[in-house]
Every structure is written in structure tokens, then in C-alpha cells.
Symmetry: C2
Subunit: 395 residues, 2 copies
């Protein structure tokens, strides 16, 4: 229930998990300084309850809450919203209508969110994971329907999101069980706090890992960029945008536009000097086998499909913007203007090369439209890059 109260409970504005002999409350202050949402555990529902628990009157829930808050108490002034529900852990068999016996049958019906997975509300994951379902199928449908990608791409939706939902349900069972355990039965009185803190990265969605598939490469070259694990969310880092000397969280520049991001992390030579980076950039810009040349429609922006960024080890005072190769200056829009914002320099105090474990030989990091790392490749492995996109993109 969401409510405003008079209370002597000193932590009213602090998120907390309360375990007392009378039961447990998850207490979450809401915006605005007064309103608070509390999840009051009403205990185990009997097998033959048949939904009668849902008719529990608000007064009874408030009385239960007061038992749990004791020796503090709440005098409820207004209930803005309330709901009584049972927690069920359920997972759908398939997220689509594909046929495992016939991999050439491409699915055209997809389920997302609550239609696929149900669990408790206590980890705040329901909406988050459901939106990730939606984004996952969304960009794939867009790519297939626009003719950019092969229909095979759609098979990866179930393949990626079903395990993610299973992991969430496993996590939620652990968390709900812990929340419902009477404090005297916990081995460690701080067990709940410790679990919550340890689960932070999971709850932030950064631990979802997609296994190798059509659009997730292998981990052969993971050592070139240890801070960008293949199959996980791209974890942003700061760098200095060369054109305007703005300190930029590079991942925060990603927009939901269905484009692929390709980060080229340089080897040691400065921009413009002969190097693996320069060779890669020239190949990308001019070679007929380059995905940029093969898959970018002739009539559109140079960066319509691939958003290519170059990141250098040199400080931003140590080179000029236009020292960087042409591939980082795509032309865009009706006036065919040059985009200047694709060249970055490492920051002295917060070096992205150190922060994300980039090899001295540089690396190419391919990031999907949904921000998952698709591949890590050596700058020299242009064939590997060609082959990766050749699997699912259409010329």
C-alpha cells in the first residue's frame, strides 16, 4: 500500500526491510517527501484459499503493519493505493511460436513481460526485466522488418530472454525466502542486508549474460578487453570527446535507434601514424569486405547502420581532431554535414584503457542496438568482423 501517516518511526523516509516477530515489511519511501509504499507480508496462503486472501480489508493490513512496526506505530492519514495479492513463481515454456524441430520455421508470435514470467515485486525487477524483453524483441523485429537483417535473428529472442527470466525467478525465490524467514532463524542477523548489497549488480541488470549465438560472438579474444564481457551489458566509462573537450560517459551517448556501435580502441601510435588502428580504420572505410561498405545503404547517412567510435590513448592536447582517420567523420543528414563527435581521448585520471582492461594491441568492441556486447576482436581480425555481421545482416 502507498500511504501517508503520522508516525514516531524514525526511519519513515529510509528504505528498509523490517523483520519482527509479527512478520516482515519492505518499506520503500516514495517521491515527494511524505508518501511511502510498504509491502506487508500477510503470511502463507492456504492451498484451498481460492483467492479469498485478496479480499483482506485495508484496515486489517494496517493493523498487521502496526504489529510489525511495534514499538513504533503509524496513524494512517490517507491510503493512496493498495492491493492484496499472492506471489506465484511461473515461467512460460516458450517466448515465441518457433518449432525446435524445424529451425527454418521463423516465429511470428512473441510474448513479453508478465505474460512470460511472474514472481514477487520485492526486488523491483518486474518492470525492468519486462522492458528488457520488449527492447530485445523490438530492435530485432525492426531490423528484420526493415530488411536489414535475416529472419533468423528472431530465434535469438527466446534463446536470450527465457534463461534471463529463469535466472530472475531463481533469484526472486532466494530473496522472498530470505525476507520471509523469521529473524531468529537467520544464521546471521545481517543476512538480509548482505544479500541485498551483493545482489545490487544483478538488480541493476548488469549480470544478465547471453550465451554465444547468432549475434553473440565467442570469448576467444576476451583478454583484449576484459572489462567488456561478451554477452553482457556494455558497461560505460568516461573519456574525453576530442572535438569539444567534453568529458563524456561514452555509453550514455547510445540512443535507442537500432544502430550497432563499433568501438575501435587504438594501439599505441598516435592518431594518423601507421598503426593497427589506422589500418583497421582504412579497411573499414574503403575495403569492399568491410561491413560498413557492404551493409550501409548508399542513399542514407554514412553512419546509418554502424556508429563507429575511435578511442585513443593519447591525451586530447596531444593530437588534432583531423589527425584521426576518415572513418570517424561520417557525413549525415540532408546537408551531408560531417559528424565530429566520434573521436575520444583517454582521460589522465580515469583512463578507459586501464578501467576496461584494454590490451596494448587495441581491440574492436561490437555493441548491439540493445547495449549488449556482441563481440571482442583484434584490430587485425577484419575477417572476423566481416564474418560476424555476414551471419545475419543483408546487403
Amino acid at each position: 500500500m502507498d500511504m501517508v501517516v503520522d508516525t514516531d518511526f524514525p526511519d519513515w523516509r529510509t528504505k528498509c526491510s523490517i523483520h519482527s516477530k509479527a512478520g516482515s515489511i519492505l518499506h520503500i519511501p516514495r517521491e515527494g517527501g511524505f508518501l511511502c509504499r510498504i509491502y506487508v507480508d500477510l503470511g502463507q496462503v492456504l492451498e484451498d484459499d481460492n483467492g479469498r486472501i485478496r479480499e483482506t480489508p485495508v484496515k486489517k493490513v494496517i493493523a498487521k503493519a502496526n504489529e510489525i512496526y511495534h514499538p513504533y506505530s503509524i496513524d494512517v492519514k490517507d491510503v493512496a493505493w493498495s492491493s492484496v495479492y499472492e506471489v506465484g513463481h511461473r515461467l512460460v515454456d516458450a517466448f515465441d511460436n518457433s518449432n525446435p524441430d524445424n529451425p527454418d520455421h521463423h516465429p511470428h508470435v512473441f510474448l513479453t513481460g508478465d505474460a512470460c514470467h511472474t514472481h514477487s515485486a520485492k526486488a523491483g525487477q518486474g518492470m525492468n526485466v519486462s522492458m528488457q524483453d520488449g527492447f530485445n524483441i523490438g530492435w530485432k523485429l525492426g531490423a528484420v522488418l526493415s530488411g536489414q537483417a535475416s529472419e533468423k535473428l528472431l530465434l535469438t529472442y527466446h534463446g536470450e530472454r527465457q534463461p534471463a527470466a529463469q535466472n530472475l525467478i531463481n533469484f526472486d525465490k532466494q530473496w522472498s525466502t530470505l525476507m520471509a524467514t523469521p529473524p531468529e532463524l537467520l544464521e546471521d542477523p545481517q543476512a538480509v542486508e548482505k544479500f541485498y548489497v551483493s545482489a545490487e549488480e544483478f538488480a541493476a541488470g548488469m549480470l544478465t549474460t547471453y550465451e554465444q549465438n547468432l549475434i553473440v560472438g565467442d570469448t576467444t579474444h576476451q583478454d583484449l578487453a576484459t572489462g567488456f564481457p561478451v554477452g553482457r551489458r556494455f558497461k560505460s566509462h568516461k573519456a574525453m570527446r576530442r572535438c569539444d573537450a567534453v568529458v563524456t560517459h561514452i555509453g550514455h551517448e547510445h540512443v535507442a535507434d537500432g544502430r550497432w556501435r563499433i568501438y575501435a580502441f587504438a594501439d599505441s601510435p598516435a592518431p594518423g601514424e601507421p598503426s593497427k588502428m589506422t589500418a583497421w580504420a582504412d579497411w573499414m572505410k574503403t575495403d569492399d569486405a568491410s561491413p560498413l561498405r557492404r551493409f550501409t545503404p548508399a542513399e542514407g547517412d554514412d553512419n546509418a547502420v554502424f556508429d563507429i567510435k575511435g578511442i585513443y590513448r593519447q591525451g586530447h592536447h596531444d593530437f588534432e581532431l583531423f589527425d584521426a582517420p576518415d572513418v570517424f567523420f561520417p557525413r549525415m543528414g540532408t546537408l551531408s554535414l560531417t559528424s565530429y563527435e566520434n573521436v575520444y581521448a583517454a582521460l589522465p585520471g580515469e583512463d578507459i584503457f586501464a578501467g576496461r582492461g584494454i590490451s596494448r594491441d587495441g581491440a574492436v568492441v561490437v555493441v548491439r542496438p540493445d547495449q549488449y556486447v556482441a563481440a571482442v576482436l583484434p584490430l587485425e581480425d577484419t575477417a572476423g568482423l566481416s564474418e560476424f555481421f555476414d551471419r545475419f545482416l543483408r546487403e
Copy 2:
């Protein structure tokens, strides 16, 4: 002019001031990655020009810009906006229709912004200073028209904003002159850069200083809070909000609601213990001479006129929220709910007491609705606080 171009000028996306033999440009990249605004100095206007300079065609301005950018050049693809104008330095005699010979005649006509002061656009101050004019007269009119304050308050508008405008014009003359000086005549080639950096605090509006007047106290007790100079903008600092342990920039909580902020900085004893702070808080809450009791309408929120915050030296784990005195828990709104957000603890690494030079004896810092520091007083000087508000507030 605002425009998009093809160019080989490597600093196109960087704010810069360009001085070359052909003249000067102030170059300001705009939002979106492509557009740039440039101020092209067309030189001295002849006495008998009579506005003909304003008919200068865009082509001619572009040609002049190219001379100045040389050896780089711009190929203009689109001009989004342009204007040719002369810079005039003008200041109105009076910001209102008050009569210096008759202080009982209260002004009822007020001028603000461009109607009072004109100068160059090069310091980006025109809109900023004009909005400050507007805010200054706005809250004063509100206070007088609602019956909260005496009409005398209105006399402080001209008294405060006319000198501020004069200072701006003096500053702008210096800055324009420097920008127009040919580089070979500058004593130091970095003179422009140095002036710009040194003027940062002025340009941010933090150096405007209102002299002692009806609503700006004297500086007798300035040593109790050296980081909050009386008559200047309140310079925010971080502290830990006790109720929810949120690190808060206290000044960012100010909203434009016409209320006065009173910050009570504690002496050493902990919240609730006998102290100057506790005595002040009790006096404020209960004494008939307290401005809170005298000037707060009986039918409204407890904090309708005064937004009172208590800031303690103790860390937020070292005391409980409700240890703090009642005056910091005003009741508000139709349900008469308690506001919990008025008690702060100093942060260990960024102590507001050290950061703003607060005395060991504590201090009361009064902040006006427009964020200017109105008074610094000892916690014990309750008479001084009464007297200050008694000058212009109405019961």
C-alpha cells in the same frame, strides 16, 4: 550568425575567441553537434552611419569570417539565423518611479532587463542579469501585494539592481575592449584567456553584492559564517539529509516560492542536548517574539513563510531524527502531515561547517526568497532576528 558548415577548422566544436589580423570572432558551438553561433566583429561604426551597418548582407559577414578564420576556411551550408547590430552601452537613470525627495512615495512602475541596461552580447550576461532583475522585483511585488510585507520593500529594487547593472556595463566595456584589441597590441598573448577565466565567478552571477539596506543586514557577525557573505548569493554546500540519508546540495532544495530560508547551524552539543541551538529552536517555536509565531498565518502551513533547516555537526549515524527540536518538523498540507526533510548532518569528507567557515558557536543564516544572504546572526541574538524581520514583514 548561427550556421552549419563544411570546414577544416579543427576547433569548430570548441568555444573559442579568435583574434587575427583581419579581426575577431567569438565562436560558440551550439547544441546538437553541428550548429555554431559566431559573433563576427565588423569593426568601428562611423558616427554618421545611422544604422546602415545593419544592412550588411550575410555574404559579406561570411567573407569577413573567412578572412578571420584564415588559414582555415568555412563553406557555409545553411544560415539558421543572423543579425547585424551595433553595441551600445546604456543605463537608465532609475529602475522605478520613486521620488528620492519623498521616501514615503512608493514606486508602482518598474523597468527590468533591456529597458534598463544595454551592452554587448559577448559575456552572455544580458538574459542572466535581466532574469535577476525580474526575479528581484517579482518576489518583492508578491510579498507586498499579498500583504506579507510593507511597501517600503519595493524601494530596494532600484537600490539593488541599478548598481548591479552599472557593474555589468563596466565589466562589459572591459571585455569588449579586450576582444577588439588587435593581438599584437596585447601585453600578454594570453590576456583574453586569463580575463575570461578570472571573470568566471562574475559571469556566474556569484559576485553581485547588495549593500546593507532594509533587507540586507550588516556584517557585524560575518565572522560566524565567513562562507556566506551578507548581500551575496547563497553558495550551496552538500550535507546529509538525516531522514533519508541522502547527500543533498542544500541550496538546490530552494524553490521559487517566495519563502525565506533560515539555516540554523548548531554549536557542538548533539541534537536534543542543552545547547545554543536547542535554545534557539525552542525560542523560534514557542516565543511570542519569534518571527515564526508573529508572521506565519494561523490557517496555513507551519512553514508557509519561513523554511527553517537545522544543520548539525554530528554524523548522521550519531543521532536519531527525532532528537532534533520540534521547530524542524513543521506540519503542512490539507492532512497536516509532518515534514521530515529539515534536519541535516555534516558529511565526514565534505563538512559544511568547515567548507563555509561556520563558527564553533554556530550561526543563523537568513536567506531571501531570491537566494541572497540577508543576515548572519549569533544563535543567541534572537532579538536581532526579531528586529530584522520586524522592519518589513507584517503580522
